[in-house]
Amino acid sequence: MKRISARYSTVIVGLLAASLATTAVAAESSGCVTCHLDKEMLVKNLSAVKVKTSAMQSGAG
């Protein structure tokens, strides 16, 4: 019983540690931030999107 318990404890601690580690770096581990943290890459890959406003618009909204 003691042995089983110890084995479970090890598994639980291991799972918990893995879970915490995953949670703590969740956004960082996402593929999204590979690009979105890299300003140079964004500069290379993005261009200004032309603002979609009619040329006929005038005055304060």
Partner: protein, 641 residues
């Protein structure tokens, strides 16, 4: 507010990853396929606006209680727009009206992300702090990015002398408009935003006024809305024209804006806390044919809802001109909304708002006396459209259109020459070692001479809002022109007086400008630094308050802040909408409240010298004998001091 660069809009800051929200997978909120290294594939199914499209899932898992109400808040639903439109509409034609509403009235709604993460969608979006979530909304990048032309301008000194809550207490928007109000659900039947029971009221902070030491509070409490005494002038809009262009893009054209103030009757006593008879009213740009592009006759019940609506301008001051003495308000028929102020189409709509002659408070005798000396005012420095129209054939009259060539070519006052201070090399460029410094006198004289301007001509300057013509007035005076006048109200004043414009370009025969330089009108930073401790000198900083307080800065300034000891009098305090000027007595009274009086030497400063020269014009017009311009201004001062 300049738009963010494309990369800055989506650049995540490393600091975000260590925040609570950084512990969540990006795709949990945004979806997409983050495992792909292909940009297109990675973004397939990605939702850039999860809090708009799916607030319950994106934010509600953790912030359940807030999202439960915030998803139906006024910011999210704009429900009172629909309520007002329904009140005016022929419901058989609601389909047309609703299409117009969706195209033109619903563009500005926002949700959690637009107040806590990014600039709102309507303000061209982009992370404001590397995707870090902020509990407190950013007043510049978020709140006034949408609420700009009225609230932002008023609050930060582009319309009136700034709001006292911003200037003295450095309060931001959420200091008053807290989460309780912002996250409150707007019931479907809500008649108007002022009916929201969670809405902030002045008396939430300013309690027990009837017990306080201010006598006028006791007299006026429950008779007038707080803003009647404590607001400054604000903008009214007329005739918003909407439609779609040839590319099918929706547009609006706000055809007329005027700055002023009107007191109306409180037409809706059911507004919580509005147990007073008089309140400020603002004209909304609606009219019966406004949505005719989508189907005629949509507003057959136009008379159901006022077009002069309850107003709460955000340029509060403790002391205001209308409350400076009793009879600025009492007996002042012009200050109260009259039937004559209405167009025929809106008379029925506003019958409960108009203040009948018998309801205008009676004159008070004796009244307070304000000791304002207007005898030194240089009246000839300001002319009106009627005078100019009658003087067009006057010998030696030179009319300068300072708006720039593009505006000039679209139509200008007959006989005017195109001469913008920004499109002529009157000062050093932005890239110069010392940027924005006025050119050598001979260079300026040659430019003026080549334009056919002589020093003894009567030169009348005009533009769109006063800021270019005010600056040009200053440069011409420095250069030695002896007779310069400013057209009150500029091109708008000309149009409002019913006079036509011309598209025919006009030039003058080159001449020699023989003015004598008035060098004492300019003070450099070294000299200014020595003057700062002199009690007979006042330094007037004519920038908007966020720059003065160091919240924002001119792009070429080296740092945030202001010159020690400066007094901030923002441009909105000096010029009204369209370049109209307040009466000299009011301007002198306002300046006196800042300690700026004609017995002092007044040095004006700003970012690049333009605003400082505008302030010079106003003070020169008011008859101040010792006014000097710090042309190096903050852009140069901040480099080395």
């Amino acid at each position: 507010m300049a738009p963010l660069e494309p990369q800055d809009k989506v650049l995540v800051g490393r600091a975000f990853l260590t925040t609570t929200h950084g512990e969540i997978d990006c795709e949990s909120c945004h979806g997409g396929a983050p495992d792909s290294s292909d940009k297109t594939v990675a973004h397939t199914g990605m939702d850039p606006f999860p809090s708009i499209n799916n607030p319950q899932q994106a934010c509600g898992d953790c912030h359940q209680e807030i999202v439960a109400t915030a998803k139906d808040s006024l910011h999210a639903s704009l429900s009172t727009f629909t309520t007002v439109l329904e009140s005016r509409a022929d419901m058989k034609k609601w389909e047309h009206v609703d299409e117009a509403r969706k195209n033109h009235c619903s563009a500005c709604h926002t949700s959690c992300g637009g107040c806590h993460v990014s600039r709102p969608k309507a303000a061209k979006k982009g992370f404001i702090s590397g995707h870090a979530f902020q509990k407190r909304s950013d007043p510049i990048n978020q709140c006034t990015a949408c609420h700009g032309s009225r609230v932002g301008y008023e609050f930060y000194g582009q319309r009136g002398q700034v709001d006292v809550h911003a200037a003295k207490l450095e309060m931001d928007c959420v200091a008053c408009h807290n989460a309780g109000e912002m996250h409150a659900a707007a019931p479907k039947e809500l008649k108007g935003r002022y009916h929201l029971k969670e809405m902030t009221r002045c008396t939430d902070c300013h309690k027990d006024l009837e017990q306080g030491s201010v006598r006028e509070h006791k007299r006026h409490l429950n008779k007038v809305q707080c803003q009647v005494c404590h607001s400054q002038t604000y903008v009214n809009c007329y005739n918003c024209h909407v439609g779609k262009d040839s590319d099918g893009m929706a547009f609006f054209q706000n055809r007329r804006e005027t700055e002023g103030m009107k007191i109306g009757r409180n037409y809706d006593g059911k507004v919580p806390g509005a147990d007073y008879e008089y309140m400020l009213v603002r004209h909304v740009p609606s009219y019966p044919e406004m949505f005719d592009f989508y189907g005629k006759g949509g507003f057959s019940n136009f008379g159901n809802t006022p077009t002069w609506k309850r107003a709460s301008p955000h340029n509060i001051q403790r002391r205001t001109w209308q409350a400076a003495k009793c009879n600025h308000c009492h007996g002042n028929r012009d200050l109260f909304l009259a039937d004559a102020d209405l167009f025929d189409y809106e008379k029925a709509a506003n019958k409960k708002v108009v203040v009948a002659d018998g309801r205008v408070p009676k004159l008070i005798t004796p009244d307070l006396k304000l000791s304002i000396d207007t005898t030194k005012v240089r009246r000839e420095a300001v002319v009106d459209a009627k005078w100019l129209h009658n003087s067009l054939k006057k010998k030696n009259l030179v009319i300068i259109d300072a708006r720039g060539k593009a505006a000039y070519d679209k139509g200008h006052i007959e006989g005017a020459i195109d001469f913008s201070p920004l499109e002529n090399p009157l000062r050093s460029g932005a890239d110069a070692e010392k940027p924005f410094i006025v050119a050598e006198h001979q260079v300026v004289a040659d430019i003026l001479g080549n334009k056919g301007i002589a020093a003894d001509d009567h030169i009348v300057v005009y533009d769109r809002n006063g800021l270019m013509s005010g600056a040009l007035y200053g440069v011409l005076t420095w250069a030695g022109a002896s007779n310069v006048s400013y057209l009150n109200g500029g091109i708008e004043g000309w149009h409002a007086a019913g006079f036509h414009t011309s598209k025919t370009s006009h030039t003058r025969k080159a001449t020699s400008f023989k003015g004598i330089k008035q060098g004492e009108l300019i003070v450099d930073s070294d000299e200014l630094a020595k003057m700062l401790d002199d009690p007979s000198v006042v330094l007037l900083d004519a920038r908007i308050i966020p720059q003065f307080l160091g919240m924002t800065k001119h792009e070429q300034a080296s740092r945030f802040g202001h010159i020690p000891g400066a007094v901030n009098v923002p441009p909105g305090a000096l010029f009204m909408e369209n370049g109209y000027l307040k009466q000299p007595e009011e301007l002198l009274w306002m300046l006196k409240n800042y300690g700026i009086t004609p017995d002092k030497t007044v040095v004006t400063t700003c970012n690049t010298g333009l605003g400082a020269t505008d302030a010079f014009f106003i003070l020169h017009y008011l008859g101040f004998p010792k006014v000097r311009v710090h042309e190096e201004a903050w852009v140069n001062w901040s480099k080395s001091r």
